[in-house]
């Protein structure tokens, strides 16, 4: 058989692609349930990280069920919607321009000392890929209790520093309502201040685009919760 003929070449590559494709499809299908469990557990871990609870890796689900007492969805007017808050795709929701149409998940968390915190997911873009996080708001809806950020592929040592406590701990006690007005939290170069008076944290040297991404993500994803948060302070 002539191994250099066109027919052989075409049949060879088709067979190869079918075999490799089948192998990939089989691997992906058979591993899907395991991967989903891992991904869900990881999401639970991240949600708990925003209120500084770090469960051991085999204990994530029980701890999550223990602390997260309620999961619900609100709309931009602060009204509750029906649905499964845990499986809302925040990435998709954050891309909807009109915030009135977004479904906004809220995770209500009860700490050991009885304090209630509301954990809100955020999602945005860094330099190389998506960044996301969870912001825990105090029960009066006015200030931040804790934050957790993660990224897909920001530069290690630079943009990737947003996932470190050194960065996220800065958000504690930052106000989201100043004099009754909703204000997101700005991320600025150390030593600078934002112009319109909102609270701010220091960005990361050498990670400017990622820092800006965090700022944009917070303002895009927290602003729709405005009504929900101001209702909290009225209660």
């Amino acid at each position: 058989m002539n191994k250099q003929s066109n027919t052989y070449t075409i049949i060879y590559i088709i067979a190869l692609v079918v075999v490799v494709g089948a192998a990939l499809a089989f691997t992906a299908m058979s591993l899907k349930p395991l991967q989903q469990i891992n991904a869900d557990a990881d999401k639970m871990r991240q949600i708990l990280a925003s209120v500084h609870i770090v469960p051991s890796s085999d204990n994530i689900k029980p701890e999550f069920d223990k602390y997260i007492t309620r999961k619900f969805i609100v709309n931009a007017d602060g009204e509750e919607l029906s649905g499964d808050a845990f499986n809302i795709d925040v990435a998709q929701e954050s891309k909807i321009k009109d915030s009135a149409e977004r479904q906004l998940p809220v995770f209500q968390c009860k700490l050991d000392n009885g304090d209630i915190k509301y954990i809100l997911p955020v999602y945005g873009a860094g330099l190389w890929g998506p960044i996301w996080g969870y912001v825990a708001i105090n029960s009066d809806g006015k200030s931040i209790y804790g934050a957790y950020f993660a990224h897909q592929g920001e530069t290690p040592g630079l943009g990737a520093e947003i996932e470190k406590p050194n960065f996220s701990d800065q958000f504690k006690d930052k106000r989201v309502f100043i004099d009754g007005q909703f204000k997101s939290v700005a991320v600025v170069k150390a030593g600078q201040k934002p112009l319109d008076g909102e609270d701010y944290v220091d960005g990361i040297s050498g990670g400017t685009i990622t820092s800006k991404g965090v700022e944009a993500m917070l303002s895009n994803c927290l602003a729709p919760y405005k009504s929900f948060l101001s209702n909290l302070s009225k209660d």
Partner: protein, 207 residues
């Protein structure tokens, strides 16, 4: 005996005399990207060893059937398939590691050392030597990555594997981390320094 020596040289030559990074100057791009910290460099090194060993074996097994005109494409399909499977396995069984690696695992596909070894070695050698060649070249790559990452993390962040190693008293005395070390240019300069030292030891490599 001669056969055994050949196997050994296939395995160990790439570690120094025939190192893919510092002698053949291949795979520099990923050496820049993953060496700001030691941990991703180590995991990347291990992944490259695994992918390179297995793709070398598979290509070597198929070498007599591959049509000449599409051999690069065939190699790419095999490498890409292998990397995707490794990625899926990591996601299912070692989720934390796969999060560590994130995009780097995809970068393995475009690693020029991989293509170079498939084309230069696996296409004309039997599976066992090809396996050794893959392990050897992967290890040669990993060693350089780890050396570069060691210096970049130590001097750039004062830590190793995330642990603080430079004592606080140094900082109190006026020492500060060199921010330039964690930027990509210093990876190139560090690689250049390693090449300099390596060449001055191995005089026969000098032109």
């Amino acid at each position: 005996m001669a056969r055994k020596n050949k196997s050994l040289s296939v395995l160990f030559n790439p570690l120094s005399k025939d190192n893919p990074v510092i002698v053949q100057i291949l795979g520099i791009c990923s050496a820049l990207a993953v060496t700001a910290k030691l941990e991703p460099a180590i995991v990347m090194g291990i992944s490259v060893i695994a992918v390179m060993a297995f793709s070398n074996v598979i290509v070597s097994l198929m070498r007599n059937t591959i049509p000449n005109s599409i051999r690069i494409i065939v190699q790419l399909v095999i490498v890409a398939g292998l990397v995707a499977i490794v990625d899926q396995l990591l996601k299912a069984y070692a989720y934390d590691v796969s999060k560590q690696l994130s995009v780097f695992i995809g970068l393995i596909i475009t690693n020029c050392i991989l293509m170079g070894r498939l084309e230069a070695f696996a296409m004309s050698n039997k599976p066992w030597p090809s396996f050794l060649d893959g392990v050897g070249n992967g290890a040669g790559y990993a060693i350089i990555l780890i050396i570069v990452a060691f210096f970049r993390e130590l001097l750039g962040s004062g830590t190793l594997l995330g642990y603080q190693v430079i004592p606080q008293s140094f900082y109190d005395a006026g020492y500060s981390n060199n921010g330039l070390m964690i930027l990509p240019p210093m990876a190139l300069i560090t690689v250049a320094c390693i090449i300099w030292i390596h060449r001055s030891i191995n005089k026969d490599l000098q032109d």
